[in-house]
């Protein structure tokens, strides 16, 4: 398919360009908060992109995807704590462990469908969460500070915030490219076919289980990589990385941006996290207007607006933001 200049493509191009220019903007306004915020956004966009692979293209609604975020993070944190700071060891190991955990969870939960699958992935993620909570040596509930980011010899310095941001962004673009290749390959056809009609897939001769499992593992590994980046970004790991609400946030990002659309999860991650920053501000301004004085606590309540917003998205904008953009062209 050749790209056409549509509202949707123009929007995506502008978004990608803006993401590449974030560090420039941060230097310009002399404020590092924006860079830090967008590093976080980009990392979570990688996680959401991996969830989109199984959920949007494969129809596997996993409510435990944050488990891999935690797995990747803990692999880095634990190794660093034990004195292994080389990224050449940390990163591959994190990917292998994330993949292995996805394999075990997948083998057990892909036997089931629908609601069972949603609940079982949630329950297994919760199990991994509690395991992290019980790791007394590694900070238990309180988590663990990482004193040295992953070392790659002289190759790349992750402690440089701008360098680290661009590394995350390149990995995000790489993940999107990878997902694009995968979903259009023979393998991707099987995955999408099995989302659409698994029974028919088996009737025409596909042992769909093994393809779905492979897809589940790939997504787990990409998300594990996001976890590696997140741990390096915050210099900290804790069970909160994989709290079940984080899994919910990832689902929200995917659906808000647009399920089964390549850039949807990125759009969703940007939208959700920018909203998280902007809504409190809006609320406090509104509070001042309504009551005539500053309402100190008002801005804490942004989820009071986010919650019903989700309900509205579900009711009226099923295709997410990307779906709205796509309909601009048709409408």
């Amino acid at each position: 398919m050749t790209p056409h200049l549509t509202a949707r493509n123009a929007f995506i191009a502008a978004l990608v360009l803006a993401l590449f220019l974030v560090p420039v903007y941060a230097v310009w306004i002399g404020n590092n908060f924006v860079l830090s915020l967008f590093t976080r956004i980009v990392i979570l966009a990688i996680a959401a992109t991996s969830l989109n692979l199984i959920m949007g293209y494969g129809g596997m609604v996993s409510f435990g995807h944050a488990a891999y975020l935690g797995t990747g993070g803990y692999a880095v944190g634990i190794l660093a704590f034990e004195g292994v700071t080389s990224g050449f060891v940390q990163w591959p190991l994190a990917l292998v462990v994330s993949g292995a955990i996805a394999f075990v969870i997948g083998i057990l939960s892909l036997r089931t469908r629908g609601v069972y699958f949603i609940m079982i992935t949630l329950a297994f993620a919760q199990m991994i969460y509690y395991v992290a909570v019980s790791l007394n040596r590694y900070g238990a509930d309180d988590g663990l500070t990482i004193y040295r980011r992953s070392q790659f010899g002289g190759l790349i310095n992750l402690s440089n915030k701008t360098v680290f941001y661009y590394l995350c962004l390149v990995i995000l673009m790489g993940s999107i490219y990878l997902v694009w290749r995968i979903v259009n390959s023979r393998f991707g056809m099987v995955i999408q076919g099995s989302r659409s009609n698994d029974r028919r897939m088996r009737a025409i001769g596909f042992p769909t289980f093994r393809y779905r499992l492979a897809c589940f593992v790939i997504a787990g590994m990409i998300c594990g990589l996001a976890g590696v980046l997140l741990a390096n970004h915050t210099d900290f790991i804790s069970p909160a990385m994989m709290h079940w609400t984080r899994s919910g946030d990832l689902i929200v990002m995917v659906v808000l941006g647009g399920m089964g659309s390549l850039f949807g999860p990125t759009i969703g991650a940007v939208a959700l996290l920018v909203l998280e920053e902007a809504l409190p501000y809006v609320i406090s301004v509104a509070g001042r207007v309504v009551t005539g004085h500053d309402v100190a606590t008002a801005k804490e309540y942004w989820q009071l607006i986010l919650g019903p917003m989700l309900l509205l998205v579900v009711l009226f904008a099923r295709g997410g933001i990307d779906g709205l953009l796509a309909s601009l062209r048709r409408g």
Binding site: R111, V115, I118
Partner: protein, 306 residues
């Protein structure tokens, strides 16, 4: 031995509380084919209502009754305003919408009651211990929880096994045409079922409050346990929910209490105290995994609910 009996009773008590939650979840899923993540929020709201009403009326029992009614009404309103529009939609839609509802109700509770938890004091007649076996004392209140929850379970059993609505539930779920054919007002039935589920969750929440205090997010961990229960028991099955609840409650409580000691028999002191907590928090999930391998549909899959 004394400790063991006490832990078993605690396990039974946790199991029965889980059952109150799981029964509502499984009924709502069985009849409306609706996945309600916000069920835990109703548990939380029931707890806060009870704390407030008990303080207002100066009576534990009256406060609890008012809280039950209020939680029922909240369930009815939420169903009528928002959730009924989602019946028949994709399960992912349910998950998203009720996830939004959780965020909303957590903030709402923070706004109304503040970020601090709320205590619910027991009246003196419940704040005692009774002798269940010669020489074995058990807190009266915990014993009362067991009795009340068993009574509710018995009541649900009668409804499910002896009434027409119960027959529909057993017949296997979400069969709108069949319910319509029997001349039952479906909309009303659905609202009622949701309200009853809410009241059951509220009951569980308010009964837990004197022990654990009401706090924001209190419903979420127990909700996930309730999910494990209905996965093990089989979605849509009240009987499965009951048996699995007791199972999960016992294994979780007893496992946490004795797993570290048990491990010391096989492992070194240090290894046991490291692995013990991790392993005991994994126990029920391991149980779930084993059951999934053996019976992917749970122990008692509801008829026609595949």
């Amino acid at each position: 031995m004394l400790l063991f009996i006490e832990q078993c009773l605690n396990g039974l008590q946790l199991g029965l509380l889980l059952f109150l939650l799981a029964a509502g979840l499984t009924l709502i899923f069985g009849i409306m084919d609706f996945v309600n993540l916000a069920h835990g929020s109703l548990y939380m709201i029931g707890a806060y209502f009870a704390a407030t009403f008990a303080a207002m009326t100066d009576s534990f029992v009256l406060g609890a009754l008012l809280a039950l009614i209020a939680t029922f009404l909240v369930g009815v309103v939420v169903e009528m305003v928002a959730l009924r529009r989602l019946y028949g939609r994709d399960h992912l839609d349910h998950v998203l919408a009720t996830f939004g509802l959780i965020l909303f109700s957590n903030e709402m509770v923070r706004l109304v009651w503040g970020p601090e938890g709320r205590n619910l004091a027991l009246p003196s007649w419940l704040n005692t211990a009774i002798e269940i076996f010669p020489g074995v004392y058990y807190p009266t209140y915990r014993f009362a929880i067991i009795v009340v929850a068993l009574a509710v379970a018995g009541f649900l059993y009668v409804i499910v096994m002896r009434t027409r609505i119960g027959m529909l539930i057993r017949a296997g779920a979400s069969n709108r045409e069949m319910i319509g054919a029997l001349g039952i007002n479906i909309k009303l039935l659905y609202t009622l079922v949701f309200g009853i589920g809410a009241a059951l969750a509220g009951l569980a929440g308010l009964m837990q409050t004197p022990i654990l205090t009401a706090s924001i997010g209190m419903g979420e961990n127990i909700l996930i346990l309730a999910f494990v229960v209905i996965i093990i028991g089989g979605i849509g099955s009240i009987r499965g929910a009951f048996i699995a609840s007791i199972f999960v409650g016992l294994i979780d409580t007893v496992g946490r209490a004795f797993m570290p000691d048990l491990l010391k028999l096989f492992l070194s002191q240090a290894a046991a105290s490291t692995a013990g907590p991790a392993l005991s928090s994994m126990l029920i999930y391991l149980l779930m995994a084993v059951i999934l391998v053996l019976r992917p549909e749970g122990l008692f899959p509801a008829a026609g609910n595949r």
